[in-house]
Amino acid sequence: MLLASATTLALVLAAAGCRSSEVFDGPDPLGGPPSLSPDVITLEAVIAAEASLIRAYQTAIGGASRAAAQRAELTTLLTQHQQHQAQLYARLVIPAGYAGRLGGRSGLGGRGASGGTASPQARGVPGSRPTGPAQLRAAERESAANLVRQLATAEPSLAQLFASIAACHATHVAALGG
């Protein structure tokens, strides 16, 4: 019903030769979702990077030669990455209807206008190449450095979250024997 009304309105406005923004104050109701803020774009990139780390840990934990103690240690680190991802998702508020680079999962577990019911748990990557401690250390280091590079433009509380996550990644490097 709403969709039909909006379509009808657009047709009426088009026939009259004017855009909806010339009729209404504020956001253009027919102009599509508003552009994303830099913080949202940065958040999406950081979430994607965290998802990549999660996949790497899941692959490493799934390695057949992994000892039980080593698997437990890696699982602890994986859980912390999942906590990071959940906090990042919780801060992601994007316009409804915007799929974004996260494949339409934006806002899951948080306050996103698009809503959602699934948890932001990443799935494993069947068939991906083995991931050892050296690769994980390198990925953690790279991720920490990338997070620090985002600090200059992020709003203060988001910058603090990024810095805290980067510090956690640094402790993971040491925990992995770095």
């Binding site: 906090q87 948890s119 203060p156 509380s157 040491a174």
Partner: protein
């Protein structure tokens, strides 16, 4: 966690470093072997950090806060276990102080705080024997999230 001015955040970091220097002096007296060596190394690192922060504050035209002669310890330190706990506690305090620097408006100070808190978080993890998901962040700064789905 809110944005703060550069100078108060730098002074707070300096105060945290001074407290750590005092605390490591206490902790080191109850440690031996590799843990004592680690405590000495960390004590030296905190002294260097204090000098760096004091210089940064002076360059801003302010007088660096002076360390106290004595600090009230958070709990009695009478053996190696409590000394190790104190070292972790001190590093947590330093990490929180540097995290405040990440909220200031100057990008260079944000980077400085972020890198410094990585070092203190690593030291805290060493003394605690485990890593934490959000070093320096109080629980109140974390948003409620939906529990993970099993599906």
């Amino acid at each position: 966690m809110t944005s703060t001015g550069s100078l108060p955040a730098l002074q707070a970091a300096l105060a945290a470093e001074d407290a750590a220097i005092f605390g490591y002096g206490v902790a080191g007296a109850h440690l031996a072997g590799s843990r004592q060596a680690a405590a000495e190394q960390d004590w030296t690192g905190h002294n260097r950090a204090r000098d760096t922060l004091a210089a940064m504050i002076s360059r801003l035209g302010a007088v660096p806060v002076t360390g106290q002669a004595f600090y009230q310890l958070p709990f009695p330190v009478r053996d190696a276990a409590s000394a190790v706990a104190l070292a972790a506690y001190l590093e947590d305090g330093v990490t929180r102080a540097y995290l405040a620097l990440v909220a200031v408006s100057a990008p260079a100070l944000r980077d400085f705080g972020a890198v410094a808190m990585q070092a203190s978080a690593e030291r805290a993890a060493y003394w605690r024997g485990s890593t934490e998901a959000f070093p320096g962040l109080p629980a109140s700064a974390l948003l409620p999230v939906r529990p993970a789905s099993s599906s």
